[in-house]
């Protein structure tokens, strides 16, 4: 029997958030955390609210804090996160809670929008496509795979304290994804918008983002590359 402690908050009826305990029968199976939430919703309390969609680690909807570590509930097996028989599930930290495990990601998306995450190249587009060499294309590996689940940014203390000014690991990974793209010509403009004391330099390299990324990406390394580009540009 798995003991699940679930963060509950309905702003329409609750004065404050609280933790609700559930005993869930897993029949000894190594379920995913999302399966446990589905069991709770189906068999214990239908009002439990969370986001989910693809249930296979592709859509990035069910980013949650499980036993203190952010991750995607659909691809986190109980054997990986549960110590003893206790599972504590909370919403992603640092963002306003809309209800139960659903957070308002507006601040996260605002930072993503800030880095202009799209290809910029004013030269006339060729008839078919802008070509890259295999080496140029390889520069984007480890950057383009981000699914914007927000596990990294919401595990970053710098993003907790300054979500309106620090772009955060997810946004900066995408910033570097376009800085590293051989087809993009807005490098100077992109860098000039990042050279302030907050946008990039609030990163102190503690690598919480690397520790939690469900896709195994390394935002800290990308931020290091941005720093190097800023340094090369200024010296």
């Amino acid at each position: 029997m798995l003991q699940v402690s679930l963060y509950r908050y309905n702003p329409e009826t609750d004065d404050a958030p609280f933790m609700q305990d559930f005993s869930v029968e897993t029949d000894g199976k190594d379920l995913m955390v999302l399966d446990v939430l589905e069991l709770i919703k189906a068999e214990h309390d239908g009002s439990v609210t969370y986001r989910r969609s693809c249930r296979e680690g592709v859509c990035g909807s069910d980013g949650l804090n499980m036993n203190g570590k952010n991750g995607l509930a659909c691809i986190t097996p109980l054997s990986e996160t549960v110590k003893g028989d206790k599972l504590v599930i909370r919403p992603l930290p640092g963002l306003p809670v809309i209800r139960d495990l659903v957070v308002d990601m507006s601040l996260f998306y605002a930072q993503y929008e800030k880095v202009q995450p799209y290809l910029q190249n004013p030269t006339p587009a060729p008839a078919i496509e802008r070509l890259q060499t295999p080496e140029e294309r390889a520069q984007l590996d480890g950057l383009y795979e981000c699914i914007l689940c927000a596990c990294c940014s919401t595990s970053c203390p710098s993003f907790w304290w300054n979500p309106d000014r620090f772009v955060g690991p997810a946004g900066l990974l995408q910033a570097y994804r376009f800085l590293a793209d051989s087809r993009d010509t807005a490098t100077e403009d992109r860098l000039s918008k990042l050279d302030d004391p907050f946008s990039v330099f609030r990163c102190h390299g503690i690598q919480n983002c690397v520790n939690v990324c469900p896709k195994g990406l390394n935002p800290t390394k990308a931020i290091g590359h941005i720093r190097t580009m800023l340094l090369n540009r200024a010296t």
Binding site: N162, D164, R165, D195, D196, P197, F198, F201, R227
Partner: protein
């Protein structure tokens, strides 16, 4: 771009670079002091060491580095925790007060060191 008039150099890159360069100056200074302390130290030898111009310059460099390094670090801490987001409407006033206190203290320490070493 986010602007800030209270950061050390106004740009993130300069602050970052200054903090790293000053840390190297401080590291070399404190390693040197530690090396001196490991040998036999008495008043005469200590006084003789600090009477030399290069040691006075080295100490001045270390104290200026300490002030710059500490300001950038404290500025980061203040802008993390002493904000309206964390403390409510009085957050900005409290932060500015702390920044003022920290900057005056650092300038005071540097002047104090100069007076001691160069007088």
């Amino acid at each position: 771009m986010v602007t800030s008039v209270t950061s050390f150099s106004r740009t993130g890159l300069s602050d970052w670079l200054v903090q790293r360069v000053t840390s190297l100056v401080l590291l070399s200074y404190f390693l040197f002091i530690a090396y001196q302390l490991l040998g036999s130290v008495d008043y005469t030898s200590w006084r003789a060491l600090f009477d030399q111009t290069w040691m006075k310059v080295f100490t001045l460099m270390a104290s200026l580095s300490l002030a710059a390094h500490a300001w950038i670090g404290l500025w980061s801490v203040f802008t993390d925790y002493l904000t309206e987001r964390m403390l409510g409407p009085k957050g900005n006033a409290i932060r500015l007060l702390c920044q003022l206190g920290a900057s005056l203290s650092l300038v005071g320490y540097v002047i104090w060191i100069i007076v001691i070493v160069w007088s």
